[in-house]
Amino acid sequence: MNGLSPLVLALAGIVLLAGCDDDKKAARNNQAPTGQQAKIYKDLDSCLAEAKDMDQVQSCRAGYQQALAQMAEAPRFDDRARCEDVYGPGNCVPRGAYVNNGGGGFIPFMMGYMMGGGFGGRTVYQPVFIDRAGAAYAGGSVVSNPRWSGGDPGPRVATAPSSIARGGFGKSAMAKVTVGG
């Protein structure tokens, strides 16, 4: 887990997001209702600090682990400069910092993690990235954006996962060593 130390970077503005009005919004966007609260934490400690019982402690830990595993899906850039164009100077790391055998390329720091907000009430755990304009993303969707409330980077609703689906190619290869011939 090297490379996580930069998480001490301030995580202004992201606190927690509730599902409240989402269902209407989700219906309008033709997306499945989230049906549950989504919360964003800047790190494991801040989740543990809110935990009221052992179940929630477990949930914090599991969510954090799964969000870290999801870093394999983080936006990847061929070079650091292109990554920093999007996420801001100093906010990108070599992919290998998070992903075993991560190969080349750069990805943004995990600036926090989101729990909940999945389709049909399913709990999902996603790493959160913040772009240079301060907008926070999880699972491909913007979950917090300073522009939404006149510069106040306050909490906003978490949307259901974006309309981008991934993983629709590649499954046949899992049993194979190489596809060439």
Binding site: G168, F169, V177, T178
Partner: protein, 386 residues
């Protein structure tokens, strides 16, 4: 043609790594072998080049006839796959490269074994690694290899006439990650595309996204994918979740879907039917009966969609099994082909000559040697000169 034993360069690992070859050894066994090389006469090379061009042209005629005569079901190509083949052929979607594998030992005409038309690899070894070996070890000699020039020219053709803002000037390249060999081939093609003037992005095949609103395939930055080189078999793509989105997506795939005809072993039977007794063809059919009497050396049974020597069985003339390799293919059916002699490489080994087509033109050759009769993913790449 002749095979010579020689001393490998003392620092051969460092020498090949210096040109970017990072998959020269698999499981501690060298895949790149320079303790031997093949030397050809110029006339032999000309013959191989002409043979590959002829075979490619015959194969393209089979593609045309197969689609026109609605024979795709013979290839096991039905449903969505058939639609994609027909659409891509109707648009004449451009192709980039392929490798025809030939049996040739210097005597008689080369014989066509099969066409690696959809996902051929060993391109980087043929184009770059053996070239630098020749420059280091046989500087005065020649090599059947204008692959890099060919690839860059071909990529330039793909850009010709496209306005500067056309999204097809951006090429996405995709393969299964992590895989050193496939990624090595992909990176090499990317470098050639960049040389030709493409903007490029590499993406893990599993990272490709589908934007359900815009109905486009997208990359990790959610940019639409207008053109994609994919080192991933078409027959896998069409059966996976995103297969149903391919037609609607507007993405131009390289290789195009019509290559499913060329990469399918059924083409060998169709070739024999259209061009019976052509000197570069081996008798081939879906059933062994019609070709048995034409096959004094025995028969070979191949899975229609088999890759890397999997599900190949070689029979002696008396019908006993000379060598068999199991694998994960074969559900789609089999093809029978007359057995022929491969060039001998060492006491029990054999060599297959892979001639590379870039576009419609033979531009180079790579030789792979197997320890036995079947060229599989344990084979070795051995350089050549002439």
């Amino acid at each position: 043609m002749q095979r010579f034993q020689c001393e490998p360069r003392q620092d051969w690992q460092a020498a090949v790594e210096a040109v970017g070859f990072d998959f020269h050894t698999f499981d501690a066994a060298p895949y790149w072998r320079e303790e031997a090389f093949w030397q050809f006469t110029p006339a032999e090379i000309e013959g191989l080049e002409a043979c590959a061009n002829t075979l490619h042209s015959m194969c393209m005629q089979v593609v045309e006839a197969t689609i026109a005569d609605r024979k795709l079901p013979l290839f096991g190509i039905t449903g969505l796959a058939a639609e994609l083949v027909q659409e891509s052929w109707a648009r004449r979607d451009p192709h980039l490269y392929g490798r025809v594998d030939l049996a040739y030992d210097g005597s008689g005409p080369p014989k066509f074994l099969e066409y690696n038309a959809d996902t051929p690899t060993s391109l980087f070894e043929a184009a770059i690694v053996q070239w630098y070996w020749k420059e280091a070890v046989h500087r005065g000699a020649d090599q059947f290899n204008s692959l890099e020039e060919g690839l860059i020219e071909r990529f330039r053709q793909l850009l010709r006439g496209l306005p500067s803002a056309d999204p097809r000037r951006h090429l996405h390249l995709s393969c299964v990650v992590p895989n050193l060999e496939d990624e090595g081939n992909l990176k090499y093609l990317e470098a050639c595309a960049i040389d030709a003037g493409f903007a490029t992005t590499r993406i893990d095949i599993a990272d490709i996204g589908w934007n359900a609103q815009t109905r486009r395939f997208v990359d990790l930055e959610e940019r639409p994918i207008a053109r994609m080189f994919k080192l991933y078999p078409w027959e896998w793509m069409v059966r996976e979740e995103f297969g149903a989105n391919i037609s609607e997506s507007g993405t131009q795939f390289i290789e195009p879907a019509w290559k499913m005809i060329l990469s399918n072993k059924a083409i060998l039977a169709q070739l024999w039917e259209m061009f019976p007794h052509h000197e570069n063809l081996l008798p081939a059919a879906f059933d062994k009966a019609p070709i048995a009497r034409l096959s004094p050396n025995g028969l070979v049974r191949k899975a229609l969609l088999g890759r890397e020597g999997e599900n190949v069985t070689i029979y002696d003339p008396d019908g006993s099994v000379a060598q068999a390799q199991d694998g994960s293919y074969g559900a789609e059916g089999y093809l029978w082909q007359a057995r022929t002699n491969l060039a001998k490489a060492g006491p029990a080994g054999t060599a297959v000559l892979g001639v590379w087509l870039i576009g419609d033109e033979a531009r180079g050759m790579g030789i792979r040697e197997a320890d036995g009769l079947i060229t599989n993913d344990n084979c070795h790449f051995v350089p050549h000169i002439f």
